[in-house]
Amino acid sequence: MSPPSSFLWSRRIFLTLLTGFVLLPVYVMVSSSLKPLADVTGEFRWLPSGLTVRPYIDIWSTVPLARYFVNSLIVAGAATVCSVVIAVFSAYAVSRYEFRGKRVFTVTVLSTQMFPGILFLLPLFLLYVNIGNATGIALFGSRGGLILTYLTFSLPFSIWMLIGYFDSVPRDLDEAALVDGCGPLGALLRIVVPAAVPGIVAVAVYAFMTAWGEVLFASVMTNDTTRTLAVGLQGYSTLNDVYWNQIMAASLVVSVPVVAGFLLLQRYLVAGLTAGAVK
């Protein structure tokens, strides 16, 4: 039962064009990052006139890239861990218990997903400043404030996906665990969570990517010491020069960890989406 040749040809042409479209910027990023400055300031060249790793050395001194990198890691890492733990608890409550306000909760949480981020930006900025003035807890300009903000960005999607995922874990399993003398948390941690690992990994990947790639709040809510990569990369353009080869090298360096992690875990993401979001 092999597909007809009309299908095979359409597939070949479509997938070839699409691959070109997808890879073009990746090629530009990689090749430009290995070019001397003259090659990226003059007319575009497909091939570098001479290969150099100089941009990869210079990126660390032109801007404090290492510090931005660490900031991004701390912020995205903490936001991911907190977001996943909180989403697991919430999704378990919604999936396994009947309680008053359940519908209101899910609808409210999900609808925050549709609100434009710009709506929260200024109020949140004012709120963090006020909380800081009143309690001395520095939220504005600190990593903590950014972590708090980011973890709520991925929370609605994570809860939504995990509810679907937990629903697909047979109730009999954790009810049996309850009967066996596990507490509700024991049932969650020993039965439901292990059975939902693909969903949880998927949610973690999503949360990390959301935090790692966010620009708006990072550009308003950070200062010199807490700046993340999202804002830091703008530092390669000065009034006189734009170091495109360094920008491309830095872009590549900050992308490699997320892209590699994502590609390693993509199977989980598809499996998680299949069971959780796409029922």
Binding site: M1, P4, F7, S10, R11, F14, L15, L18, T19, V22, P25, M29, S32, E43, F44, I86, F89, S90, Y92, A93, Y97, F99, K102, F105, T108, S111, T112, Q113, M114, F115, P116, I118, L119, F120, L122, P123, L127, L148, T152, V179, D180, G213, E214, V215, S219, L229, L233, W244, M248, S251, L252, V254, S255, L263, Q266, V270, T274, A277, V278, K279
Partner: protein
């Protein structure tokens, strides 16, 4: 093994326990309180980061909030509906710009979502069967989605440069399609630049979701169709596409909201002020608030935008859930 036996032995005992009512209280209270306890962290965060700021935002939209009052925004004078009047006075500059931005955003969103859906669905269907290199291709296709926005979009900025960008080099120097080097990040072309980047970045999400949806279509359906003599194209039209219906409903809504609210892509592509042809609403509001320092008007615009999105989503959900109910009834 021993676990199952314990469960079987203990089950009846627990049931009789629950039947009697001597000490139900502590357990009961914990049971009722437990879901709320589990939800507490999520609730507290939603309250702090979404709901309270939203209320503040709504209050701000009724105030005359300029840079003079921003340090102590509570003391800003009330202005009633002035901010709203200003936002929707389409004859005056502020309202006219807002209306323009709204139409640009709607047109851009419809085009971008349509293209993302089309490309994502086609790719997922073409890659449903195994062929050599499928795994590699699937990984490649997810790269735009995995790349951080600022790194990916800044590469496009480089490609769209007037003098040293790839796009002009190919279109003008190599293919001679344009008479002179075009500007892509200012002027009317900026709309197409933004659309290209948005589709490049967005279609893999559609691909991912449709791929997941395809795995839920039972293989028997295809086998039955094959027995009936249906060809490849017929199977796609009669089985694959209709089966994706519910998946598509969610996918299109999510894509719509993300694209409509997208700030990161235009912000990295154009900076703080987007060209008129690509002036998406979220950057427009950002500019109204942070560049021209009128936070009250910016808030009013945000609230109007929110009302619009709620209305669209409400209508969409009502229509699609009616469709779903009808298809269940058949």
């Amino acid at each position: 093994m021993s676990g199952t036996t314990t469960a079987e032995v203990e089950k009846p005992r627990v049931r009789t326990d629950a039947g009697r009512e001597p000490h139900p209280r502590p357990g009961r209270i914990r049971r009722i309180g437990l879901p709320y306890l589990l939800l507490l962290p999520a609730l507290a965060l939603e309250l702090l980061v979404h709901l309270v700021p939203m209320v503040i935002g709504i209050v701000m939209s009724f105030k005359e909030l300029t840079q003079f009052y921003i340090r102590d925004w509570g003391t800003a004078p009330w202005s009633g509906l002035d901010n709203y009047r200003m936002s929707v006075d389409f004859d005056a500059p502020v309202g006219e710009a807002m209306l323009h931005s709204f139409f640009v955003t709607v047109g851009f969103t419809l085009l971008s979502v349509g293209l993302c859906w089309l490309i994502g669905t086609a790719a997922a269907i073409f890659m449903q069967d195994t062929f050599r290199g499928r795994g590699l291709l699937r990984a490649l296709f997810l790269v735009p989605y995995a790349l951080p926005v600022y790194a990916a979009v800044i590469t496009w900025v480089f490609m769209f440069q007037h003098d040293n960008g790839l796009v002009n080099h190919v279109l003008h120097d190599q293919l001679h399609l344009t008479d002179e080097r075009s500007f892509w990040l200012i002027g009317d072309n900026s709309f197409y630049a933004l659309l290209t980047v948005s589709v490049w970045k967005g279609w893999p999400f559609a691909f991912l979701i449709v791929m997941a949806g395809l795995q839920n279509i039972p293989g028997e359906l295809y086998e039955a169709a094959a027995l009936d003599g249906a060809g490849m194209w017929q199977r796609i039209r009669r089985i694959t596409l209709p089966s994706l219906g519910p998946v598509n409903q969610v996918l299109v809504l999510v894509l719509f909201l993300w694209t409509f609210n997208d700030f990161n892509t235009p912000f990295v592509l154009f900076g703080r002020a987007a060209p008129e042809a690509a002036d998406l609403i979220s950057v427009h509001i950002y500019q109204a608030s942070f560049v021209t320092w009128n936070f009250g008007t910016g808030s009013a615009m945000s609230v109007l935008l929110l009302v619009f999105l709620l209305a669209v989503t409400g209508v969409y959900l009502a229509v699609t859930s009616r469709g779903r109910r009808a298809s269940h009834a058949q």
